[in-house]
Subunit: 676 residues, 2 copies
């Protein structure tokens, strides 16, 4: 035995303390509260506690560290290095013992609460602190003289070895416990779940011995059109699979209100829709797990964000009240549930689900997730955040104050109710330029990088053809028509156009602009009609009026920054949006896409339970403005109908920042579908 | 407005205080902590707060009460009296206001925590304090300016009006909430559940306006042979229906160990048995509700007691570990579950289930329930409590100390493995007397009050015949055979019998005693064979040895009292039990039946949540003795094999106390079936 003590300094935390010689580094770290991971609790199995001792003079710390400051490699480290490889300079913190003053660096991957890097500087950082973690525990064997249940001895061991008091277990775990304990020779790995509101942890699963898999969670963005999810490893934040499926409820109605109507008109209609969406959710979960090679049993959590109607339909609540004033939610608070209760039956049977709170009857958990991702409550400038779909959810943050509203933009921005409109899919026109002199267009379609006037475009698009105009395309074409003088400030087509131009065809009592004539090749005639312009005018007026209403309420007449969230926001051209008057004027460089911010918010809530408490508190403080009952909304709406911008253009277009986060179904056309 | 104040004295509590004139009696009671019921919270709807004011001189209290001490009947009371009738002298506590000094009696039926009368003086009293109660609440209407969910406003109202903070609700309740609130014009009745370990209450159900039904719970005694239940009104303790069904697991094995074997031998066998017993439980629940005219939705709780094997099979846990040393339970603690998780799917979808703790691998939640009913931890004398079935669970209490063990008595006491044995059913012999001189028997069968030598016996039993011997009958006949000298002290038949007696027939190398020869009438020949005597000797030795083992451990060589629990205990003759040497010698008057004490324990836990905490604490303190590893058990077992008592008899037989509690299936043959 060695005697005496030594100074141990941990970096980067700077935490330091004196410890008896022979103390394992992991023990010293725990006693100092240094963030050093361990699943096996110091049994030399998991290797999560790797540290990097530093040697030499450290005048900053006032110590000199000699080579013998830590005990030599022991058999556990040697075996680990032989079998799995220990990087140079690394030691297992549970094996290396302190023999003299030492400086020990904890590398990021050995920290439990390390940060997940986000690509955007202004975005909230994600610190890993998931609700569920794996721990290894040694359980006392049964004793006939002191009979107690295997679970009660497991609970006692979790208290003694991990400080977890009052742990509970649901029936599926109790059913697995006895064989696991015996197979593991009284050592098991358990998945311990403790939500941010839980007084005690619960065991979600148990494996014999050391379970070397990870635990996974699903960040689910349940949209009216698409159900999208990220399968994420909880202890690293790594997204191992992403994907989306169509929301099968579409057959009950394209938009939310038609689904509410379906529920009102058809007894049991809501239950039908609930069953459909739950089935889709479960199928998606299973296919992502399969794709990533993750055992469904290892999927132990889900976080769901969605709009209020989807929220109610997922939970099995009739959404009828959301279709009429006062738009009362059955429940607005966040929910912690068994995942199976929302239909996730293919994942771990004890898996938990967390549903973010809703902000108001029209501003759902998806908007709360956007707020979690974009943190408007922390904005020092004035930031406008819009998540545009059939409804636009709008947040305005300034100096700690956050306002929210929802504005009924309708489906035009999604390409619906547009004569040549279509969903974003290969073949859909997404970029448009119109020559102000010739009035001739050029365009690009999804799935092809060439412009329509580039050589080889026809060949490159032969498989898809040119099929219609998607949401971002319709915005560009209308804005370009305005800039080219084809449309006047009131939105009228043809007032400034020489009748007889081959680009203009009569349509009823007005004109339509021919964007593409594919009829010769068996394709469609793609035109923009007066009705299309009117639909876009209604949609953009609604979005703009919502933003203005919040600005009035905040007492500002300009914003410093616009963040466009959602898949739509990732594809929209800020220049054209501003030409249209969709968003308040701000320098183009101050318009940015947050990518799928709702999905990002779901990931944050999945990876950090503190974020759940945080967004619940934020939602409680957000001031909700109901557009339906604000007379000024109507005024702004009418005033915003015009398309005032002329042809002077926006030279900064090239500087628009679009930094997508992890994209849903990246690389496939599917991923570009609109979210709601 | 009146001014000043007056003295209000409540009886029987004696609580008193001064209140401003005009204070409603209910308000005064609440402020003083007087136990005065109210479901509607003072809205004049529920009439639970009826009180009886007393008038005249009360020198004991130092007051004189005038007729005008309370406000005159108001319209609410008049209407209530007209519609439903208010008993003479009664007032509604929420309507009557204090105008002068007054003495107010709270009748028992107006107390929340009133006691349920038990028939046995030594038994623990049951004070009503169920985990689930009904309350009426007025909820704020939704406001678009302050959007919040209907549930969040319900929770706020429950806090303001009932002091219940942090109430939660499961999905089925959230799905019902919106229509209920609107139909009830923002007044609803909710079923609030708060278990003894819960930090906050949960809403189990919601009804529009005032819901005038009661809430009900099931006290379930899940035996290996019979599943029995009492459907009980939670706010009165009234048992509205009782019944039992055969445990369908019997087809997998008559006794527990054969079911454990089935699970071991057949993959999925445990799941099969789990599904069967859950189905039976749910069917019983539904049939009891139907019989009592109770809406299944009003059944909101269940308490389950059972032996460890049934416990595991109900919970979906493979019982294989219970079939081998060290007999480790998967879990020994009590469980609070959703009732649907143990298959109770026909009752309220949010109903809760409480499963009592197990004492040890052989001493289950049923023994814990017996302890809850019989309170051995409070015994000032030395009390031996035995619940006899295929296993006998034995408790010994003295001076606050309680010992427990289980003894493998086998199925002989249930009439199984007895040549003419049968279950307790009409036609089974249950009472026997043998003339010591002639060796002739007389007997009674279940379903007929006549003795076999009474005139009219044949006619009275014509429909059932005489079919065999039930458990209590086999004990009587063996004891009578011993007293008549047909059997000697070693258990041998015929050593003292004149060969050639018509009552004795050769059977292999030994003799059998003919109890009844029904062959002439197409019935069976009912005999007692040497094998039967041996089976009973083994069974009674096991019971006696278990009791002796506990007495050794307690350091006593006699007990003051014997309590026989279970249906078997209710039918057994203490005299014959003592002749056989089943139980230690005590005066016959000190042998009593506790009826179905396990079922009573379940009822207590159902009606009083404090009792749940109490039995959990008691079980933690009970000292468990494992008979399988105690060498002295084997010694006692061998020593107990003889049947020492001679023919001197027990004249006190007539004084045996049998006070059955509520009997299962009272009045039908079914109710007399053995429990395990």
């Amino acid at each position: 035995m060695t005697t005496g003590d030594a100074l141990v300094i941990f970096t980067p935390s700077g935490k330091r303390g004196r410890f008896a010689l022979g103390t394992p580094v992991l023990t010293a770290a725990r006693q100092l509260g240094v963030d050093l991971d361990s699943v096996c609790g110091g049994r030399g199995i998991c290797s999560k506690c790797q540290v990097a001792p530093a040697f030499g003079d450290f005048p900053k710390h006032g110590v000199t560290v000699t080579e013998g400051a830590l005990s030599p490699w022991n058999t556990v480290e040697e075996r680990y290095d032989r079998v799995r490889g220990l990087p140079a300079g690394r030691r297992l913190g549970c094996q290396a013992q302190v023999l003299a003053d030492v400086v020990i660096d904890v590398p990021p991957e050995s920290q439990v609460h390390r940060q997940v890097v986000r690509k955007r500087a202004e975005a909230r950082e994600i610190t890993l602190d998931p609700a569920t973690r794996l721990v290894v525990v040694d359980v006392a064997e049964p004793d006939m003289h002191e009979p107690s249940g295997d679970f009660e001895r497991l609970a006692a061991a979790l208290k003694a070895q991990w400080g977890e008091e009052g742990v509970t277990a649901p029936l599926p775990v109790l059913a697995k416990l006895q064989p696991a304990l015996r197979k593991g020779n009284w050592q098991v790995t358990v998945a311990l779940h403790r939500g941010h509101r839980d007084a005690a942890a619960r065991v979600l699963d148990v494996w014999p011995g050391f379970h070397d898999g990870g635990l996974y969670g699903l960040a689910i963005d349940l949209g009216s059109t698409t159900v999208a999810a990220h399968l994420t490893r909880l202890d690293t934040g790594e997204v191992v699979a992403s994907g989306g499926v169509m929301n099968p409820q579409i057959r009950f109605g394209e938009d939310l209100m038609s689904r509410v109507s379906y529920a009102m008109m058809n007894p049991g209609g809501d239950a039908e829709m609930t069953a459909e969406v739950r089935r889709a959710l479960d199928g998606l979960a299973l296919s992502l797990a399969t794709e990533a090679g993750v055992a469904p049993r290892d999927v132990v959590e889900a976080v769901v964000v969605c709009n209020p109607v989807m929220h109610h339909l997922l939970l099995g609540i009739d959404p009828v009240e959301l279709g009429q004033a006062p738009f009362a939610l059955a429940t607005s608070g966040s929910l912690e549930l068994d995942a199976r209760d929302v239909g996730l039956v293919s994942v771990n049977p004890a898996a938990r689900a967390y549903v973010l709170p809703c902000i108001a009857g029209h501003v759902g958990a998806d908007a709360a997730a956007v707020a979690l991702s974009e943190a408007p409550e922390t904005a020092t400038d004035c930031v406008l955040i819009a998540d545009v779909g059939t409804n636009a959810e709008i947040l305005l943050g300034r100096g700690g104050r956050v306002l929210a509203c929802s504005s009924p933009t309708g489906p035009a921005f999604e390409g619906a109710q547009i004569s040549s409109g279509q969903r974003a899919a290969p073949g859909a026109i997404e970029r448009v330029e119109i020559d102000p002199v010739t009035k001739d267009p050029r365009f690009r379609v999804i799935g092809c990088d060439l412009w329509s006037d580039d050589p080889g475009f026809a060949a490159a698009t032969a498989s898809t053809g040119v099929t219609g105009i998607c949401g971002s395309g319709i915005i560009e074409v209308v804005a370009e028509m305005r800039m080219a003088g084809i449309v006047d400030a009131s939105g009228l087509i043809g007032s400034d156009v020489q009748v007889g131009s081959p680009r203009m065809v009569p349509q009823g009592r007005t004109w339509a602009y021919v964007l593409h004539d594919g009829r010769g090749a068996g394709g469609p005639l793609v035109t923009v009609t007066q009705g299309d312009i009117r639909a876009i005018q209604l949609a953009k007026s609604a979005l703009y009026a919502g933003a203005r209403l919040l600005m009035d309420e905040m007492g500002v007449d300009r914003v410093d920054r616009v963040v466009l969230a959602g898949a739509f926001g990732a594809h929209i051209s800020p220049k054209h949006a501003m030409v249209l008057g969709m968003i308040p004027d701000v320098p183009l460089a101050r318009v940015m896409s947050a990518g799928n911010a709702a999905g990002t918010g779901a990931r944050i809530a999945l990876l950090n339970r503190g974020a759940r408490a945080q967004i619940e508190a934020t939602v409680g403080r957000i001031e909700k403005i109901e557009t339906a009952i604000e007379p000024r909304f109507q005024e702004h709406f009418v005033a915003a109908n015009a398309i005032p911008h002329a042809v002077d253009g926006f030279p900064e277009l090239a500087r628009v920042v679009t930094l997508p986060d992890v994209a849903f179904g990246a690389g496939s056309g599917e991923g570009r579908r609109r979210r709601r």
